[in-house]
Subunit: 416 residues, 2 copies
């Protein structure tokens, strides 16, 4: 069997949909980065029999199995039990784990729980995978030749810390990740996935690099991938195709990889040495939150004002009461006055605004749920506005999210 | 085999971690709500052989298999092919699908893509699962007695719409979901999961209802579950245990089920007929965004001001320059002045503020990354502040998220 990895996430809360499986995403990204092939992910509940069945299937098709979850201090945490039973290894108490947990709890206002002692039991022959930020240690175990198990707690921050500090060096030492897969993801806003796919269709027939389309959060994306021995070698294969796609798609392609609409806008503002202030209504703070998610955003983001109540639009943004009465708060004129008002109040080069109907209530035949106006005031000329009818079906969160993206995209296109 | 469901999500982008698997979460919640047992979730890439292997495994252990993804218009969308090949059914073009897609594209600025025609091919004997909000229809198919396949596109909004409109009525008609599992999730803030688990330990031994703990986003939760024929029957079983847990845990339990810190705060403000305005620094708009995520929040949320630049703190919130110079922008005094300033500027009953160091840069030995002050000004007495040292290891997003929760929790406790 050629070396390949598989992820098994353990937890009834995942099956019940109470939490999102962010661990699979993180591990998938990491395995891709390291060039470790990875073909399956499984989620299984806190059930000893089914957990063992999942292990049996995974052993037959994968040589590296990564578990998350079920290592906690509570009685339904069964991962260690299941693995030890499946490979017929006795559980042995490790005093160094007890000592470590006791030390971690020494400065805590919360006492060491009796349940925590369970976390000191490991299958004979397994190594401790240290957990510096939580109580449950993980384990690294080769229960038989050619099969490696990595077992992590389910808490994402702990798992990620353990992965980076201990597991990545371990995997490299074991010879995993010699020829990594390098991917570049091109990001698009303002063009549907199927139209993008048709526009660039011939690239999907390429063998190296491969190009694949997908859609997420109202954005279309193209992933360009190749397996290479170094980043430079990969870049030489990927760059010409990226250039070709960018030429075909123009301004609809807003960036690549970790770029976001907010980071691209921020980069342009830094280059132009200009600042931005935001006046939000229906997006409720989302534009400010996305802009300030970027480290260093204080270099161009001055601040924002969420003017939810109409009197705040008048008192703090200078929107005219007459305009509110005549055009309504969801209107092009109000969006423009909000943009101009926040620009003047905050003394920024640009003022960006949103006003719309996020629902579920408040829609009318003339102004249905999903109608959003984006206003923009800049250093030159009068303020402008754009209107969008966003698909209302997915609900309030979707409308707010896409409105936020639309506003950032309006600004992005103006800054080009 | 007793009836049980399994989820197979198809897409290399999921394996590569490029998108979060929200479809599994939604389907898990829905299956739980309908009382359909569901023991496994699998993710597999856009690969015909491995997709068929995943189908082979699922057929052996589940009687209802739900697929998402791989129905799109692009060449790497293989789900229909894989299923038809596995069950040896020919693909047949359905003219009604072509007609439907043509009609959907009639009013679009984007032309019907040739790729879209591929979406009209269905295995012989399968029924069309209508997709009102996107181009790719799904399918419902019983390829052999006792095995039902439901196949959805991967776009979450389309899948959810199709699930609710067509599949839920279909499943009920087929006799799925007679005795539903009813769960109630109690939500806690301010107590770690292991301490909560120790405090309420005896409830984990209960047979009916069952109680299980888990942790997410800095919150601990307890899920109380029972299988019952009606909601009233379930409530009678769950309520006494809920009451017992709430008595033991007091104010650390902030709500249940769909409650969030923001919704609970909103509910209390509505009851008290009081309003809130927010001044944010390190949280960058997150508090406003969470408060306005609640429909009807305009009943108590007046607005917020993100004062990122120091001069905005002075000019628009009335923070004293002297205080900024002497105590620094991340300080108890500035948090209090921000809270009082926004309360007075916006004319609200309460003013809530945050100022802190979200990182990755900007930390010092005295004021490390993760230090956050929450300020609160209310109708009575002088403004107060609270400081928190948030675990900086998970990074900027985590610090901002937990700071937002801390601020909402401060307000929640004051409103009790």
């Amino acid at each position: 069997m050629s070396p390949n990895a598989e992820i098994i996430c353990v937890g009834t809360e995942l099956l019940l949909g109470e939490i999102l499986n962010t661990n699979s995403q993180f591990l998938g990204q990491e395995l891709a980065r390291l060039g470790i092939p990875h073909y399956y992910q499984t989620v299984v509940g806190d059930n000893l029999v089914r957990l063992q069945q999942a292990i049996a299937i995974a052993c037959q098709r994968s040589s590296l199995i990564i578990f998350t979850g079920g290592l906690g201090p509570t009685p339904d945490d069964l991962t260690t039990d299941a693995i030890a039973t499946f490979f017929q290894a006795p559980l042995v108490e490790r005093p160094e784990i007890i000592a470590d947990i006791q030390q971690k709890f020494a400065h805590s206002p919360h006492a060491l729980s009796a349940n925590n002692r369970k976390q000191a039991l490991l299958p004979q022959g397994a190594d401790i995978l240290p957990n510096e930020t939580g109580s449950a240690p993980g384990l690294i175990w080769e229960p038989r030749p050619g099969l490696t198990l990595l077992i992590f707690p389910g808490v994402p921050s702990e798992m990620q810390d353990m992965w980076c500090k201990t597991v990545v060096p371990y995997l490299k030492k074991q010879g995993w990740g010699d020829a990594q897969i390098y991917s570049r993801v091109l990001r698009f806003f303002g063009i549907p996935e199927s139209n993008l796919a048709e526009k660039v269709a011939p690239v999907f027939d390429l063998i190296d690099p491969t190009v694949a389309p997908y859609a997420i959060d109202g954005e279309a994306r193209l992933r360009i991938s190749t397996r290479a021995a170094s980043e430079a070698e990969a870049a030489a294969i990927i760059a010409p195709i990226e250039q070709q796609i960018r030429q075909q798609c123009g301004v609809d392609c807003y960036g690549a990889d970790a770029d976001t609409l907010a980071s691209v806008v921020g980069q342009r503002l830094l280059e132009r040495q200009e600042t931005i202030a935001v006046a939000e209504s229906c997006t409720g703070g989302g534009i400010g939150q996305r802009l300030t998610a970027i480290p260093g955003s204080s270099g161009y983001f001055v601040g924002s004002l969420v003017a939810y109540a109409n009197n705040i639009k008048v008192d703090l943004l200078g929107v005219k009461s007459k305009t509110l009465d005549e055009a309504g708060s969801v209107s092009a004129a109000v969006a423009e006055q909000m943009a101009e008002g926040v620009r003047s109040q905050f003394g920024s080069a640009w003022g960006l605004s949103t006003t719309g109907i996020a629902g579920p209530g408040g829609g009318t035949p003339e102004k249905p749920v999903g109608l959003v106006y984006v206003g923009l005031a800049g250093p030159q000329g009068p303020p402008q506005s754009w209107s969008y009818q966003i698909n209302a079906l997915p609900g309030r969160d979707w409308i707010r999210k896409i409105s936020t993206s639309r506003a950032l995209d309006v600004l992005r296109r103006q800054l080009l």
